[in-house]
Subunit: 357 residues, 2 copies
Amino acid sequence: MKKIGIIGGGQLARMMILAGTPLGLSFVVLDPSADACAMKLCDNIVAKYDDLDALKALSAQVDIITFDFENVPAGTLEQLDAIIYPPICALATAQDRILEKSLFQGLNIPTPAFAAIESLDDLEAAFVRIGFPAILKTRCLGYDGKGQARITDAKEGPAAFAALGGKGLILEECIDFTFEVSMIAARNQNGETVYYPLIKNKHQQGVLHLAEAPFQDDALFNEAKVYMNALLNKLDYIGVLTIEFFVKDAQLIVNEIAPRVHNSGHLTIEAAITSQFENHLRAILNWPLGATKMLKPAAMLNFIGEMPEETPYLSINDSHYHDYGKEPRIGRKVGHCTILADDLDALALKTPIFFKV
Amino acid sequence: MKKIGIIGGGQLARMMILAGTPLGLSFVVLDPSADACAMKLCDNIVAKYDDLDALKALSAQVDIITFDFENVPAGTLEQLDAIIYPPICALATAQDRILEKSLFQGLNIPTPAFAAIESLDDLEAAFVRIGFPAILKTRCLGYDGKGQARITDAKEGPAAFAALGGKGLILEECIDFTFEVSMIAARNQNGETVYYPLIKNKHQQGVLHLAEAPFQDDALFNEAKVYMNALLNKLDYIGVLTIEFFVKDAQLIVNEIAPRVHNSGHLTIEAAITSQFENHLRAILNWPLGATKMLKPAAMLNFIGEMPEETPYLSINDSHYHDYGKEPRIGRKVGHCTILADDLDALALKTPIFFKV
């Protein structure tokens, strides 16, 4: 029986364990928080992500190490004598917005204009080249809209620069997109690759709020697949990789990648033949991958901050209510609900409750 | 957050926990075996099923007690100050084949002719009334074909009678059925009731081998529903109830009931909108029940004794491979595989591997 170590014990780890247990896998989670929501379901190690001794203890217990969280220091991981998937280079790239966007550029994948910012002089020069509005972000450790400031005028530059720490920053062109989509794919060591349909995403305050799939546009799907293949090949990628795109003028512009299962793919649990979580595990085990076809169109609503009363959600036909068992906290993802329908129109009729939250 | 106690920690408990964790439920399992396969996923109590102190400790920790195993002494359960679903009377009935068949008779539900056997005189009289072949079984604690003997001639009676313990027996008419089907339904305290489509079952050596659904026959479905409603009402039932039927001459004859989720319903995990496990939990919590519609036709093959190599099963399109993490043992259910197809013909084409095991 194979044992998988997961660095990070949040809801992504939890859903991975729920998908992997039926496959006969067992799990050990490493997380700095003793009450991380995946921990009740498996053995665990409470330690910081850069605690080398704890990571060695994890690797001694398991066959493969994977992640539910990509901001684990790559340098620390490189010191482990362990099989680690996705590859460390993919994590290192996703951890640093400059490396990430440079990778896209090198592969001729459209991405917003950007500049590395280490000084106010860099920032002024970048304003001239990129224009306004622009977004100043930390290169590393930003997620869900944290660690960033929107700038509409050069005068706002110095304050934003100081607020974000004054170094290790990136200025990005602000794309006036129509909407966002994500593509999730899985690849195993044999090179077998499967792609989920495009998922259309809506955000609120930088946090994913609503995801709907399939987003049916063959041209965009094929374009996304080309970019996905370029990235998978370049990174010698094993596991699930997610790309987030802006859609502008019927073109894809890559926002960022996540070297892991992704919030927008939660609807694959019930709406696809094989969930992203199962396919991530199959991929890192070099098992045959599962079908990514959707059984039904689906929409997923995130519950942010606290869980709603369950009855209205359980009462929707063909709904799936998920409570991660987390303590309420402002801005925290604590659960989600996925609903299925026979077609996209029926889905739209079923989802009004999703817009009242 | 609700906490559910499960008496019995086998694969049914395991699948219940996998279905209930996303709903935000937590679990405590009580089982005599410290390595019962559900135990890794939750808190647990290692104790015999008739250990009153252990059962009291369980009930002190949880909101509701339920079962993955029906042969828990009803008298012991009655001493607990706990919410127990399904109701103890349903367990007591299902534990004793005489009580069970008498219940069917009282509700005018067709069932094989039977007689309680406490002596060789009883047996001889029963042979005259029931004829041959007939099956001599223990009234209690039999399952998966254990504790029974097929008798084709009166001369075999005394040996079978002695081998089965010489008391607490039942002689049953042996039905020459064409095939077997099961119906699984769930009912909550509000009386809301949902029914899964009929499932067609094949057994080998008394153990379920293959299940296929939906078995589409409106007349039989409606007949099964009438019997199901009669039983649910009579037993004031809460939770999932399964009825196993023989089908002979296009008529249903009830074989037995299981006051719990059922092996034939494993295919509901991936092939129905809501699994039997989730609906059992929703029912005992008096939550709205989930849709029982099937997303696709499906077939499930049990793995008995030991797990096969996984790759051939993972390689089947739209397959779901389940390994319960149990030690191999002759006759033991250790896993299953469910495959989905667009229609019943496609399913038949996909399943040849199921018949080679």
